[in-house]
């Protein structure tokens, strides 16, 4: 079913010869899609399908769960909502569409998104395969700091979810740095994580290809929603006030549905201010 859907697009794209695709590109028309660009690299339907299916799955759920966690956490922090909304309104006003420049320069917006990805990385557990024999050094008490040998081809699983809540790799707890398992966007006011202690998109040569696209999508969505709504409130389904646990499949989603009430901003009042 998914394949059939995608194949119809691939077929249509490949029915154009490379010259036509080039022309379409130059015309910068809207119907020049990602698929057309991909078809410039390969004419193999299978290759194109593989790449497109990969991107579809990689982009869709990760972005969705990040937005869910962000609103879930934010709804319990009215002070952060106010600070974020103030930043948004002073940068873009109540109804102007944000530009890429606006989005790249809203500091607290980035802090809120970064904090969400720290506490709830979209891919909680990941795997890498060793390209050569190597040794992994560890400081964990359980193995008393003994190094672990890894042979070429071995799978090494690691968890950003577990690591990014470790108090021992972050600054000591202080008024400006709450414990690692607390959602606190303000901790980023004066903190930049040390390399490799914050890896929601992973790193190295296989870092997430969609990072910038995903961030742009999230920044845009949050900005537009908070332009419109000034107040968000968590609804605890059936009186359930337990903290939300994570359902860690490939993507780490909230275990229960995220239910949120929105209250629209009174625009007439804001216009006067």
């Amino acid at each position: 079913m998914i394949d059939a859907y995608i194949q119809s697009y691939i077929k249509r794209t490949l029915s154009l010869n490379p010259k036509d695709i080039e022309l379409l590109d130059k015309s910068s028309r809207e119907d020049y899609t990602f698929l057309h660009a991909l078809a410039k690299f390969t004419r193999s339907p299978k290759k194109i399908r593989d790449e497109v299916v990969n991107l579809l799955f990689a982009s869709r759920d990760t972005t969705a769960v990040t937005l869910m966690w962000l609103f879930y956490e934010l709804a319990a922090k009215p002070a952060s909502v106010r600070r974020l909304r103030n930043e948004i309104i002073s940068a873009v006003g109540i109804d102007r569409l944000p530009t890429p420049h606006d989005l790249k320069n809203m500091k607290f917006l980035h802090q809120v998104v970064n904090e969400t990805l720290r506490l709830h990385p979209a891919v909680p557990i990941n795997i890498r395969y060793a390209v050569r024999d190597t040794i992994v050094y560890t400081t964990s008490d359980k193995v008393k700091g003994r190094p672990i040998s890894v042979c070429k081809g071995d799978a090494v699983a690691f968890s950003a979810l577990a690591m990014q809540r470790r108090d021992d790799i972050y600054p000591p707890v202080s008024p400006s740095f709450p414990p690692a398992d607390v959602f606190a966007p303000e901790r980023w006011d004066s903190w930049t994580p040390r390399p490799w202690t914050y890896i929601p998109f992973n790193g190295g040569p296989r870092i997430c290809v969609g990072q910038q696209f995903a961030l742009m999508e999230i920044w845009y969505t949050v900005t537009r929603l908070l332009q419109k709504f000034e107040y968000i409130e968590r609804v605890n389904g059936g009186g359930n006030v337990e903290p939300m646990s994570v359902k860690a499949e490939i993507v780490g989603s909230p275990a229960r549905d995220v239910l949120i009430k929105f209250r629209e901003a009174d625009l007439s009042k804001e216009m006067k201010n």
Binding site: M1, I2, D3, A4, Y5, I6, Y9, E30, Y32, T33, F34, L35, A37, L38, F41, T42, R49, D50, E51, V52, V53, N54, L55, L56, F57, S59, R60, D61, T63, A64, V65, L67, M68, F71, L97, P100, I127, A155, V209, G210, Q212, F213, M216, E217, Y220, T221, L225, K228, V235, G237, E249, I250, S253, P254, D257, V258, L259, I260, K261, F262
Partner: protein, 120 residues
């Protein structure tokens, strides 16, 4: 190969987001309505991803039960069971490709679901 396709022009095409954000906002109920953001955001990001990749959206926010959206959810359920059963040898993406390929000839979402559960 794919990395160089994420050009600045493509990443910064905010019109794409605006169109779907508008639909999203139109689906958000006010006046004490408890909005299910889980459902809404899954549809929202699917609509954006399909338009970004294919130039045409599946429009699942307006039609959440669309065959395509359900098929994707099913593949992901099965895929995750595979991963937990220890078949983590292949990358997740490879798994999903194999599964989508396997399901390619199965058209109705009913038989699709039956097949998926026997596989899992």
């Amino acid at each position: 190969m794919v990395r160089q396709l994420f050009t600045r022009q493509r990443i910064e095409d905010l019109d794409l987001f605006e169109k779907h954000t508008n639909t999203l906002i139109s689906h958000i109920g006010r006046h004490d309505h408890a909005n299910n953001l889980t459902q809404l955001f899954y549809c929202y990001t699917l609509d954006i991803a399909t338009e970004f990749l294919f130039g045409q959206t599946v429009g699942s926010m307006n039609e959440p039960q669309s065959e395509f959206a359900e098929a994707i959810a099913e593949v992901q359920r099965v895929q995750s069971k595979f991963a937990r059963a220890g078949y983590v040898d292949a990358r997740c993406s490879v798994l999903s490709i194999k599964l989508t390929h396997h399901f390619a000839t199965v058209h109705s979402s009913h038989s699709f679901r039956a097949e998926a559960s026997t596989m899992a």
